[in-house]
Symmetry: C2
């Protein structure tokens, strides 16, 4: 008898890609059915209210600090990279070798670090302030980020791809796509949206990263997802925001 | 025949606690022998040179992005929370229940998020600049951090402790100490060093967190470690820095 598939419930802000998008991509590539709870209407148990109730439910054990949160039966897991690792395990997107599984999570965590750095270009002072209230500091932080950190991030993944002889530089680990590759895809998506001029200026130096990004976009499940209404457009409420005044290549 | 213990080599900056300290604490509590490579003299294969060579060695597969890095035979693992999870698995400091193991890593990652936030109070603009070059922005960021984020961090762990009925609020998961508790101990250590006035102002609201911190400090292995020369003092080169002008309780 086949094992029945558990009910996977993702809780995340319903109007942005944000950190939740890294999780959505793993579900989509794995073709695992999931419920994006807060995007359902409130009368179906969805909406931001459902997300807030989940975050505040201390009776269910260790509370999540922030979305995204995955609920699978009695288990709630927060922390984006950890959720991605869990879903990859359910959906066959972990690397085969045990050592590569540690490396995959190392890479996924590094993707999330760079994602936070990109976010902090528009929020260098505080999350509770609007961008407009920290624009002066953002204009000072962004050039440092674009001159040093953005190229360093892409260079790092270029090195990681080159170091994977088994995959001939086409995937980060082993011979097959893993969730770490999906994470890198979304990082490049986000950076390309937020800083198109700056990414264009360095893309030539990181051909493997750019080739991986293009190859992931063409995978059947991902291509179908990107063309579907499930893929929210980027906007200026998420992590990756396009403020042209900040995207000034060094 | 007993399994022989592998050689655990920790690579981290030799003069600061920094992120490496979270790893050191797991080794110390587990009483697992480890080599703190960069703290050895160069003639014994140590020093910062050894750390740099490790970071730049792409022939060994997936490179680390930044220290700390753990090397165990052919495996290199970077990312602090991931290394802590690995060492905890080697040293018997994972929670017993599988679900609690996911929760432990969620908590450990959240400890590291708050650690980074504390760091960014003194580096809001860029890592490559000195504090003195971003002091103005730091003076603007710190009050936001101290009014909103620091209490939110401690409150979160207070909730997590209270939510663990099995541990009667004394450990984060189950009935025994896990590496997540060590992470929380070090976060409180660092915050108390960097922002003594602000932590004192909120400590009364988070009695479980403060009791856990005190209890960890008294554990025999940890107490011996804290009293040894292996425990580096905090200083103004690490993540947690004491700049009195930033520690102004709201």
């Amino acid at each position: 008898m086949a094992k029945s598939t558990p009910r996977y419930e993702l809780f995340y802000w319903p109007s942005i890609q944000g950190r939740g998008e890294f999780v959505r991509l793993v579900f989509e590539e794995a073709a695992l059915p999931y419920v994006d709870v807060a995007r359902l209407p409130a009368r179906q148990g969805g909406g931001v209210g459902a997300l807030m109730r989940l975050l505040e439910d201390d009776a269910a054990g260790t509370p999540p600090y922030a979305p995204p949160v995955l609920r699978v039966g009695a288990l709630r897991i927060a922390q984006t990279a950890l959720i991605c690792q869990y879903v990859a395990g359910e959906g066959g997107l972990l690397p085969r070798a045990v050592a590569d599984r540690w490396r995959a999570q190392q890479l996924m965590l590094t993707v999330m670090d760079f994602t936070l750095e990109a976010h902090d270009t528009h929020h260098p002072i505080g999350n509770s302030l609007y961008y407009e209230d920290q624009k002066r500091e953002a204009r000072r932080r962004a050039p440092h980020y674009l001159a040093e950190r953005l190229p360093k991030a892409l260079d790092y993944f270029e090195r990681a791809l080159a170091a994977n002889g088994a995959g001939r530089g086409r995937v980060l680990l082993g011979r097959s796509l893993s969730y770490a590759d999906l994470g890198l895809f979304q990082l490049v998506e986000g950076l390309s949206y937020a800083f198109p001029r700056s990414v264009a200026a360095v893309a030539g130096d990181t051909p493997r990263v750019m080739a991986l990004h293009a190859a992931v976009a063409e995978r059947p499940h991902i291509a179908a997802y990107l063309a579907s209404p499930r893929r929210l457009p980027f906007n200026e409420h998420g992590i990756f925001r396009h403020y042209p005044e900040l995207d000034v290549p060094p």
